[in-house]
Symmetry: C2
Subunit: 212 residues, 2 copies
Amino acid sequence: MSKKNISLSVIKRLPKYYRYLESINEKGIIRVSSKELSEITGLTASQIRQDLNHFGCFGQQGYGYNVNELMDELSKIIGVDKSYNMVLIGYGNIGHALYKYKSFSDLGYEIKAVFDKNTDLKVKDGALEVKSIDLLEDYLKNEKIDIGIIATPKKVAQDVCDILCEGGVKGIWNFSPVDLKVKNGAVLESVHLDESLFTLTYFMNSPEDFIF
Amino acid sequence: MSKKNISLSVIKRLPKYYRYLESINEKGIIRVSSKELSEITGLTASQIRQDLNHFGCFGQQGYGYNVNELMDELSKIIGVDKSYNMVLIGYGNIGHALYKYKSFSDLGYEIKAVFDKNTDLKVKDGALEVKSIDLLEDYLKNEKIDIGIIATPKKVAQDVCDILCEGGVKGIWNFSPVDLKVKNGAVLESVHLDESLFTLTYFMNSPEDFIF
């Protein structure tokens, strides 16, 4: 099975498939056809089969996919079968919301430490204290951290990103409204709230322009 | 100028251009070439010219784009030149963070009311009170609301979405980890945090698979 040369759009759909499978698994559904997946996802059945074939996930003709097996396979591909140590930098409103977001920790993504410029902030309802951002570099020397979450103001985001990459972090999850440059082989995924809201407004003003 | 048949990927890049222009405008830069935009954005200069040409934004050969004019033009296309009344449904961690996120209100996106199942929650540092979700339907009959932000648990998200669409809301900005169906001509934009984190993990595990 080769995973090479898979387009970004296919990859972006994998978490979506995983989420759908989770939701039908919760309902006790054991098998699902690409046609059924198509009805839920709005993608065509042939698109779904093609996407999953990329990763060696083959359904059986007239029988469909075993939900549990497909979830297992996808979780390995996405990497949800492992656990991840994370640090959160920036404990403002977004940082606080991410810290409290339970779904991630249930899936093995654990925030081990929180850093901010303002160390008077306490992490509510938890044992963690907010550490000074000045301690981040040393912290990364002593701890194995996989993912750095950046939820700082944009003017310091690149500096924080540099410290994280130099400290051996392999993934940057960025919420600051700026495009960061990563190094040392780290990968970057950004959630740009402003871009998302602008995209919504664009379609509200010109819904007829939309083509897939 | 026709705006028809513009692909989603072009449209998704417009807010990005707008953000770049904002950042260089803040630095007092008056003109920018597609080559300079290319250096900042990582897109090719010809891609940028092609994208902007779709919308009738033409730079001058050897002279580039006037930053202010291009920002004005893009803000009209994206719809950032108007103001929007919003309601926020769900005042948990994500809802709270969105309510406090200043950048939106500075741009004319104003949260006029907050609704939750739990009306004991107070909106901190603000004059707004959290209204009962039962009052949403009536509220929408009396107020002109453009955008509904859904930050509820997933099991109630579709019901809330239905009430918003039936109440005449034109845009749904969804943070609940579920794919919603909109009606009455409303448009939907979702921020799926779980999918974003899974995408990051995928690339951390298989960075060599990535192609554009």
